[in-house]
């Protein structure tokens, strides 16, 4: 910064874009003299003759720098400083207090009440120039920070918009609730942990006799697992799987998915449960790759978990997945869920657990599926103490009327 000591040099140091200074002083003579000096520096100058008027102009005009006399009628300089600091719209304004005698106690009080700097009424031209330049430099830094912050907010809003749009695409992959085949009714409820979920499920007809359904869980959180989940979900569509196999054997589907979706470089993978139900035989065949959340809730109220210990997808390229078969009878419900449901932690860290989950299912056995699933979710949320699970939480239910 220039250490100019003549008026000519002062003008040479003029500010690139004309900066605005507000001068608040009740003494006309000293105000006129200061206004003239500031104008000679190439500044645009606004004037006010008391603190109250000064504050009003400051709010309206947002000057780059405000110079305030200490003693004024209506509102004195330190009070203006305090008011400015309390108002979020103008709190970052640069303020210089002017006094006729600069005693250390007074300077300390002025700074404590919100002034950025001090200027003695007897200051030399050079000192005035230096303090004004310093104040304008600070003002320009503050404006830069504020404009960067505003740009970040806009970018952030754009990114959130993108995420919302991706999330609505992911939701569009979920099935429509209702009848999936004669005598089979589907219902579901879903709570992603962030805007984007890595848990997906679906249920569709394989052919006129059978339906297939699955739930998948991509490990990790955020955009990348959600993209991978959407990809696997597309892979698992019946029209795609028919390129690989001609029957709806879940173990073959699983083996194919395992070949297509190896572990990623950072160790991300899927757990997946696939079921295939044939209406002619009433038989449900199922297999699981590390996914524990599947059960059948019998009409007679017993609950059987439909899981076995098998590797998640991608852990080993040539895993042979075995499938199991059970007989489904009239009134039975098959429920697939994210592990986030029974692993929902309470504030103490204790997990909700399968025992409490089963008890809740029993309690809602007579309610329609479309009410029982949300009730189950609500109970897990109550345990968790929040409507946002640490993991995604999905529940898919099928009721069989055979």
């Amino acid at each position: 910064m220039s250490t100019a000591n003549t008026d000519t040099a002062s003008k040479a140091a003029a500010f690139s874009t004309t900066a605005t200074v507000l001068l608040v002083d009740d003494e006309p003579v000293s105000r006129l003299s200061m206004v003239a000096r500031l104008k000679r520096m190439g500044l645009r100058v606004l004037e006010a003759s008391n603190g109250k008027e000064g504050l009003a102009i400051l709010r309206r005009e947002r000057p780059d720098l405000t110079i305030l006399d200490w003693v004024m009628p209506e509102m004195d300089g330190p009070t203006v400083c305090e008011q400015v600091r309390q108002d979020p719209d103008i709190h970052s304004s640069q303020l210089i207090l002017m006094t006729s005698h600069d005693q250390p106690e007074q300077i300390a009080e002025g700074l404590a009440r919100g002034a950025d700097d001090f200027l003695s009424k007897s200051a030399s031209k050079q000192e005035i120039l230096a303090r004004v330049q310093s104040g304008l430099r600070a003002a320009s830094l503050v404006r830069n920070i504020e404009s960067t912050r505003d740009q970040l907010r806009i970018k952030q809003a754009e990114l959130e918009g993108e995420l919302q749009s991706a999330a609505s695409y992911v939701r569009s992959l979920l099935p429509a609730a209702g009848p999936v085949a004669p005598g089979i009714h589907m219902s579901w409820t879903y709570r992603p942990s962030l805007a984007l979920g890595g848990d997906l499920f679906n249920c569709s007809s394989w052919d006129e006799h059978s339906i297939t359904f699955y739930i998948l869980d991509a490990s990790g959180h955020g955009v990348s697992p959600a993209l991978r989940a959407a990809s696997l979900s597309t892979f698992l569509r019946a029209d795609n799987l028919r390129h690989y196999m001609d029957d709806s054997d879940p173990a073959r589907m699983m083996a194919e998915a395992n070949r297509q979706y190896p572990l990623t470089e950072d160790g991300s993978y899927f757990t997946l449960w696939i079921g295939s139900f044939d209406r002619r035989t009433g038989q449900l065949r199922y297999t699981t790759a590390g996914h524990g959340g599947a059960l059948i809730h019998r009409q007679n109220e017993t609950v059987e978990w439909l899981t076995h210990s098998q590797l998640p997808l991608g852990f080993e390229s040539d895993t042979q997945y075995k499938s199991s078969a059970i007989q489904v009878t009239d009134g039975d419900r098959v429920i697939l869920m994210s592990d986030g449901i029974y692993e929902a932690p309470a504030s103490t860290g204790e997990l909700w657990g399968t025992t409490r989950l089963e008890a809740t299912l029993m309690a809602h056995r007579s309610a329609p599926l479309g009410e029982a699933l949300p009730a189950l979710m609500a109970e897990a949320e109550r345990w968790n103490g929040s409507s946002v699970f640490p993991d995604d939480a999905a529940l898919l239910g099928l009721e069989f009327r055979l």
């Binding site: 490990s219 959180h221 572990l263 160790g267 757990t271 590390g290 210990s309 590797l311």
Partner: protein, 114 residues
């Protein structure tokens, strides 16, 4: 998570302390990868002081096991706590990474612990 490296004849033991979870993936991955790049052929993960393994932790275990196999190396696990043992079992991890209850058995690759 704290990780201490402890060389023994024919293997290196990593004493893990903390949770093997998403938050600690980088520390775990780099500790194991460093050993692999140094040419270590058998790493034994001492799980005695690991309280929890989440889904990301399971993925990391599978990943390091795959990476060691590529170099004709192997990964073993030592003494997981009962809850961790249950999580590992549900994902069938002991099929990829054998579990042992003492260092000598782990080094020899003998009779898998129940």
């Amino acid at each position: 998570m704290q990780i201490k490296e402890r060389p023994i004849p024919n293997a290196v033991i990593l004493d893990l302390n903390g949770d093997l979870t998403y938050a600690h993936r980088d520390a775990f991955k780099s500790a194991v990868e460093t050993l692999r790049q140094k040419g270590c052929r058998h790493v034994i993960l001492n799980m005695a002081d690991v309280r929890f393994v989440d889904s990301s932790g399971l993925g990391l275990l599978a990943l390091v096991s795959q990476n060691f196999k590529l170099n004709q190396g192997k990964v073993s696990m030592l003494s997981p706590q009962s809850y961790v043992r249950e999580i590992l079992g549900l994902a069938n991890i002991p099929k990829l990474i054998p579990v042992f209850d003492n260092e000598q058995d782990a080094v020899n690759g003998k009779a898998q612990a129940a």
